[in-house]
Symmetry: C2
Subunit: 384 residues, 2 copies
């Protein structure tokens, strides 16, 4: 299949079949409604619920030290290994909203739990949108009842639309492989968008999953944690994985990894103003940390990002960024014998770059977008 797995950097698992994007795996229902937060009548409130009391789940939250209220609620007041439902709104990030924001996030969660007949500590909450603005809780609370009553197994598209903000296209899939179904919905057009915004990703499967946390951490480490648009870490980032177990079958090896990597690359491709996606691989580093440091410095260099835009095979900018990452040590001069930058000049949307150090055997890679005029327009001409 090729419909969903479009990137050259994602290996689609063998025998995987694409299903209707709206369909959820057995044991899940979802939906989305407009409650008025966005103001333009678009859907802005969504729920995913797992009907199985034996749900196995994991959630990863931003490490930003100034995290938003919903992140704090999930961090401190959630049974993270058995999350039955998540309620999400777009249009307001509920960030930098103080004690009232915390109360609002809890109130939103409690209302959803009540309407769904669930323990509040098994309901996650995620929010994305403008910052520093009090939540319109009348709007949210008025929407929850109808939303909870209307969730169904064909609700994945409606849910995916309810979580979008400035995304240019939805990022979602429903796939079948090895007898199990997996669906996922993501949003994000950068690690952060104007104001605060966010990368959110929700994944559902009917597979039997024992170590949800381990699986999710591994898949995220190789996908969402390897991307950058503008090097900024949001206050609201959340990735949630839920497994109902209803298929009675295990999750095929690599399926979750492939799904999250494709979605992560779509976030980069939809990065603010982005026209191209680069992948920089650094080899020969002393240790993983050093390899990662160098790769990230290159991926976040505005000079490398503008070279990607300008189709300029400027290996010197990669050398400079690597040298800056390792400032204080001496790696000699880096030239075209150890830097491959030719694809910067290529016609393809995806460009593969590499740097070979001569310090050890560790390696790392990072995916990144280019830096364009539209990024400036979006971020300089947007007014809070």
């Amino acid at each position: 299949m090729s419909g969903f797995f479009t990137s050259r950097w994602v290996e689609a698992p063998e025998g995987v079949v694409q299903l209707d994007d709206a369909l959820l795996p057995a044991g899940f229902r979802a939906g989305g409604v407009p409650c008025g937060l966005k103001g333009d009548g678009k859907t802005d409130l969504g729920i995913v619920v797992c009907d199985s009391g034996d749900v196995s789940s994991a959630i990863l939250l931003t490490l930003n030290a100034a995290a938003a209220a919903p992140v704090r609620v999930c961090r401190d007041h959630l049974r993270q290994d058995s999350i039955r439902a998540v309620i999400v709104n777009s249009g307001n990030a509920n960030a930098a909203t103080g004690e009232q924001g915390m109360a609002d996030a809890i109130s939103m969660r409690d209302e959803a739990a009540s309407e769904l007949g669930l323990d509040p500590e098994q309901v996650a909450v995620a929010e994305t949108g403008v910052i520093g603005v009090p939540m319109d809780m009348d709007a949210v609370l008025s929407g929850v009842g109808g939303l909870a009553a209307g969730v169904d197994r064909q609700g994945a598209v409606a849910f995916s639309e309810a979580i979008m903000t400035t995304d240019k296209f939805p990022k979602r899939c429903t796939l079948k492989s090895g007898g199990v179904t997996i669906s996922a919905q993501a949003k994000g057009a950068g690690m952060i968008e104007p104001g605060f915004a966010t990368m959110l990703c929700f994944v559902q499967t009917d597979a039997v999953v024992e170590d949800a946390n381990g699986l999710l951490r591994k898949a995220t480490a190789d996908s969402f944690e390897r991307i950058t648009v503008d090097g900024q870490m949001s206050t609201n980032d959340t990735v949630l994985f839920q497994a109902s177990g209803e298929s009675g079958l295990p999750l095929p090896d690599g399926l979750l990894d492939a799904v999250l990597l494709q979605l992560a690359l779509e976030v980069v491709r939809d990065g603010e103003g982005a026209t191209r996606v680069g992948r920089i691989e650094v080899t020969g580093a002393r240790d993983d940390q050093e390899a990662d440091l160098v790769a990230r410095r290159i991926a976040n260099s505005p000079l490398v990002k503008t070279a990607l835009l300008g189709r300029d095979p400027n290996w010197g900018r990669i050398a400079q960024a690597a040298g800056a990452a390792l400032a204080g040590s001496d790696i000699g001069e880096l030239g075209p014998d150890v830097i491959e930058a030719g694809e910067l000049a290529g016609e393809e949307t995806e460009a593969e770059l590499s740097l070979r150090l001569d310090r050890g055997k560790a390696k790392s890679h990072i995916y990144f977008s280019d830096l364009t005029h539209e990024y400036i327009v979006i971020n300089a001409e947007y007014t809070t």
Copy 2:
């Protein structure tokens, strides 16, 4: 006086008088000639020489791990405390040029030493311009003789022009204070320009200076080390300070600091595409390192930089960057009670911003430019 000290952030030393920019302090001669490296007939080769055998000097070099040949020569083959002369070219950075580049930098230095009748180990070399291109040594060597013969005490303007690359305006001054004269010439339009380029600064005084290294380190720590245009560290950055001692008087307190800070701010103001300069002060951090980390993260955030361009008093972007800098800890939500961002929206070119943390008593500040369309034009449409 107001001619040179234009920034609100620089306190001009009392009683300082501005002299003709071309004039050097007693004991110094300088000059600049076109040797053909730039190709457009502009001056591209300069020398400053101190006639006193008792010169006291200090030099600070980039920490970039992939430093250029001239930096390596100065690091490894220079008597840094008694530098009699420096030879500089613009048009070719002599970076990533391998063993031939090292030989060329040494040859250029040796030729200058020979023509000036000096010990080669007392001659510094600095270069700035394109990268990965072999030096046209015929051009350089043909220029040195005439240049060395023509240096004179009125040569500071000619020298300052010989070190410019994409600078929109020269950055230089000659000042008198407390009976001593100090002159300085800087170049740079960013920590790095298209290809490799560089911040260079040369300072001469006839004051008697005992701890040249200590004075220069302190002044640089509060000036060139506190600025950022695009967060990139060049392979060629060099700051050289020479004191002839011919006035017999000490350097007035704060004079060197004020000169270097004003020049550093001019580099930011002339940053690629820059239209405004911001100053972010972070207080209440646990220690100096933490304060610096947070201030730099804010100053290098493309979201803060585009807010400076767009005159958007978006305090949320400062909160997000601070939270990202301290990822993994918890600093609570940061709001307008601890963030001053109003000057982002002001009409002035210089905008003062602050963030008050509640973790300790350490503080730091960083000066930075905005991120504009012209930065993208310069860096995406420039072809090596």
